[in-house]
């Protein structure tokens, strides 16, 4: 997986959470997910991507993380998972995907995206629609929350996978 396609998603996630949710993040060490479809978090937004590459982006939050993020976004305490929180996950996924697509388009790699779907429940599964390696970028959100970006991208006409170099971390 070419790391050129990973950094835009990483940068977008940091930007969205910082600007919209006033939340600082710390990026952890990326890793390949392996064969398990189980989510790392408690609620996930997933969106399909097509273009020169095809695949999907999943943005998965622990309950603690998303409640803090949504509380910050809305300016009022949000204490439990509900439809508003699920909607927010969809919109956050939409923003991260859109921002990343803008960066990739500027770099000559346009992608199209669908409208995100949200899945929640502890132990839920994330089924990326296209086969291929899934790179997971973990974040610490705020004091104790966790967020996981899952990026699954492959060439539209081939299934080549390259070993990634070390990803760029945000400043």
């Amino acid at each position: 997986m070419d790391v050129t396609f990973i950094n835009p998603f990483l940068e977008a996630a940091v930007n969205v959470l910082q600007t919209m949710a006033f939340t600082e993040t710390q990026v952890g060490t990326p890793f390949f997910k392996g064969k398990t479809p189980l989510s790392q978090g408690d609620v996930t937004g997933i969106v399909g991507l097509t273009g020169n590459k095809h695949g999907s982006l999943a943005v998965s939050f622990s309950e603690a993380a998303i409640l803090q993020v949504v509380s910050n976004m809305f300016g009022e305490a949000c204490k439990e998972m509900n439809d508003d929180v699920r909607d927010a996950v969809g919109e956050i996924t939409n923003m991260i995907c859109g921002n990343a697509r803008r960066i990739l388009a500027e770099q000559g790699h346009p992608l199209q995206a669908a409208i995100p779907t949200v899945i929640d429940g502890k132990g839920h599964k994330i089924c990326h629609p296209f086969p291929g390696p899934v790179l997971v970028i973990p974040f610490v959100v705020g004091e104790e929350g966790r967020c996981f970006l899952e990026v699954c991208l492959a060439e539209s006409d081939t299934r080549q996978v390259r070993t990634p170099k070390s990803p760029r971390l945000p400043n």
């Binding site: 930007n15 300016g75 508003d84 995907c97 859109g98 697509r101 803008r102 388009a105």
Partner: protein
């Protein structure tokens, strides 16, 4: 000087963004705000009520923001209403298309209340 009593319609299929924009507008002193979930609902509202400003998302089901803009500009009664489009992507070709269709300005998500105020000021100064 922007009229803080002006009636503003916010259009987005995600209730989260409608809520965030509503909160930002209230923070900026605007309180006369109504909401629509997509372009179809927004257009129907515009044809029933006198609205002074439209803030619309771009990508929505049923009728997207660009098509809503075109419908507004095609209606003699609605044509003068200023429209601000909200987008997460801001792809060059989309911006060009929106400018051709008569958009007054656009803002890229994520944005702050200060950025929203700047966009509003730019629209109403012109």
């Amino acid at each position: 000087m922007t009229n803080h009593n002006m009636k503003i319609v916010t259009v987005d299929d995600f209730s989260t963004m409608r809520r965030i924009i509503r909160n930002m507008l209230r923070q900026l002193g605007y309180s006369n705000i109504v909401e629509a979930e997509d372009g179809v609902e927004a257009l129907s509202l515009l044809q029933r009520e006198k609205v002074d400003f439209v803030i619309s998302d771009w990508n929505m089901p049923n009728m997207n923001g660009l098509d809503l803009l075109k419908a507004i500009r095609a209606d003699e009664n609605l044509k003068p209403i200023p429209v601000l489009l909200v987008t997460a992507e801001a792809l060059k070709e989309y911006i060009v298309e929106a400018v051709k269709a008569g958009v007054n300005n656009y803002v890229v998500k994520p944005f702050t209340a200060e950025t929203l105020q700047e966009k509003i000021d730019t629209i109403f100064k012109n």
